[in-house]
């Protein structure tokens, strides 16, 4: 087997045909990790022993003809997903030694399929960032150019799949954290419809924005992973019942918000985007301009709502029930010292911004106003989807940037998400698909083509994605 080009679909075929065993497959990945990951640092922890046991159990299922789509498939998991009995740190010092008390629903669903978990992957602390530079455990390198970031926050998951250190991976996406690293690493990354995948057992960042989703080599691999983890969950009241959203008739029409994407994108990235549109045009799609006048508000709205939700969600890390606890004389000092020493700079920054926009006297002008403008963005999408199947944009304004290039400028880092946050604010599904490369300093770097569909429209994304 050649794991540098292997897909989930091909591995499934070969496992079923007994061309190799799940244990041999898992061992090939463990060997690759041992050889390559010291240069890339995709993983925070590799679960060698349990991965082999899971692979052996998968071989028993396959021998009995009881295999499911992911039985024996070696996967990587972002470090903010709970796996019972395993450390889950969200790449934060405050949870350095935290052992998960239960399985996330998405994890339980993968276990039920007999998937193999290779380990937990690096990320920006609590998923705040676009480069993995905000990890408390060191930066992950982009496999296409080790001097560059893999994107983030699911940068470890993306680098693992891109470097052939996992067949697929789960990440989480609050403002682009699956799609942007997929773009920077040359992968397919899907942010499902809000509510399509249970968030139970995903460490929350922005609860009105977060979704778990797959990173994979191909559109059909992403679909296999999505199908495995989707579904209503009684433990997440915001998860949607089956067929909750009406399906739209497929018109083969793609909308492009030209006015919005004409600024702030690297010229060659825009050229790759237009070339991908041409491919779709040749495949029989109509490409149409759509007027979405409120999209320029998306990033400012996001950087009010996300920090507001961060500041409330991360109040749970207080040194009392789990995680780091810094001893002090009073309970108030236990809180302030634990949080002060356990959280990194970006988490502190967003916590303070969130506290500001929610504070008395400012909440109307910032938080409540942002919620209203979010409705305008939702309405822009709803209007566009009356005439088009999907809206297309670049995934990110440029290719992977150099490690350290944006680390000291929070606003420059935030601009990485300018195109991706739109989907999270509207709650609609979005996918990033590889659309060629651009050259930087003599290296070819991948860029992504983003498609956004109406609520419940993942099938539309897979269908169009197959034609890209």
């Amino acid at each position: 087997m050649d794991i540098s080009t292997l897909t989930i679909a091909e591995a499934r075929r070969a496992l079923n045909a007994k061309e190799y065993s799940a244990l041999e497959l898992t061992n090939a990945y463990l060997d690759a990790i041992a050889k390559k990951d010291k240069d890339i640092h995709a993983y925070l922890e590799v679960w060698t022993g349990s991965a082999r046991e899971e692979a052996k159990a998968a071989d028993v299922l396959i021998a009995a003809g009881k295999q499911k789509p992911l039985t024996g498939i070696p996967l990587a998991l972002k470090d903010n997903l709970l796996v019972e009995g395993r450390v889950a740190s969200s790449a934060s010092k405050i949870l350095e030694n935290y052992v998960a008390s239960y399985d996330a629903t998405a994890i339980a669903k993968l276990k039920a399929q007999g998937a193999v978990f290779l380990g937990r992957t690096n990320m920006d602390e609590f998923a705040m960032g676009s480069s993995t530079e905000n990890s408390a455990y060191g930066v992950t390198k982009n496999p296409h150019d080790l001097s560059r970031v893999p994107g983030g926050s699911s940068g470890g998951s993306a680098a693992a799949v891109a470097a052939g250190l996992a067949l697929g991976a789960l990440g989480s996406d609050t403002g682009g954290s699956i799609r942007q690293p997929a773009s920077h690493c040359g992968l397919v990354g899907l942010k499902p419809t809000y509510g399509a995948v249970s968030r139970f057992g995903l460490m929350p960042m922005g609860s009105s924005l977060d979704q778990i989703g797959p990173l994979a080599r191909t559109v059909s691999d992403a679909q296999i992973l999505f199908d495995a983890i989707r579904g209503y969950d009684v433990n997440d009241s915001t998860s949607s019942p089956e067929n909750f959203y009406p399906q739209h008739p497929f018109k083969r029409v793609i909308g492009v918000p030209r006015a919005f994407i004409s600024k702030g994108v690297d010229e060659d990235v825009l050229a790759r985007f237009n070339a991908t549109l041409d491919i779709l045009k040749n495949a029989g799609y109509e490409i149409r301009d759509v007027d979405m006048p409120n999209l320029p508000y998306a990033l400012p709205v996001y950087y009010v709502i996300c920090p507001a939700e961060v500041s409330t969600n991360l109040a749970r890390y207080d040194g009392i029930r789990y995680g780091l606890s810094v001893p002090a004389d009073t309970i108030g000092e236990v809180y302030t010292k634990t949080r002060g020493s356990g959280f990194g700079p970006e988490v502190r920054r967003r916590t303070l911004i969130g506290t500001f926009v929610l504070s008395s006297g400012y909440a109307d002008a910032y938080y409540r106003k942002a919620r209203s403008v979010r409705e305008l963005i939702r309405a822009d999408f709803a209007r566009a989807f009356q005439s088009v199947d999907a809206v297309a944009m670049p995934t990110a304004p440029g290719p992977a940037f150099r490690i350290g290039e944006k680390a000291s400028d929070p606003l420059a880092m935030y601009l990485e998400d300018i195109f991706s946050v739109t989907a999270n604010l509207a709650g609609v599904p979005a996918i990033s698909i590889p659309s060629g490369t651009v050259e930087r300093d003599g290296k070819n770097l991948p860029v992504g083509f983003q498609l956004i569909a109406p609520h419940g429209g993942e099938e539309t994304l897979f269908k169009i994605g197959a034609d890209v």
């Binding site: 320029p296 009392i320 002060g340 506290t355 942002a370």
Partner: protein, 98 residues
């Protein structure tokens, strides 16, 4: 509208210890970020309502989990415990200290 932001007061509200050096850095960064997000003030939101896109999700208050089923699992994660309780520092002080 956000030229001056009292970082120390915010840190106190957020129960977050922040060093003097970081306060100085944040006093520059946070107003810049707030200035960026203030773009939303230009948006006309007259007549906008969230009721069209959001709905409440309720569930029946039934089938409670058997009492004590997860007590040991969850307490095992606590930094400090006394029997079946999470132990914390005294919350109220008689001397009127904060």
């Amino acid at each position: 509208m956000s030229d001056k932001v009292d970082i120390v007061a915010l840190a106190k509200l957020a129960r977050l210890e922040v060093s003097d050096a970081e306060v100085a850095k944040l006093e520059k960064e946070i107003p810049e970020i707030l200035k960026f997000v203030e773009a939303i003030q230009k948006a006309d939101v007259s007549g906008v309502s969230e009721t069209k896109s959001l709905r409440n999700v309720m569930r029946a208050d039934e089938n409670p989990i058997e009492s004590g089923k997860y007590t040991e699992t969850l307490l095992a994660a606590a930094p400090s415990r006394e029997g079946n309780r999470v132990a914390v520092k005294q919350v109220l002080s008689r001397k009127g200290k904060k």
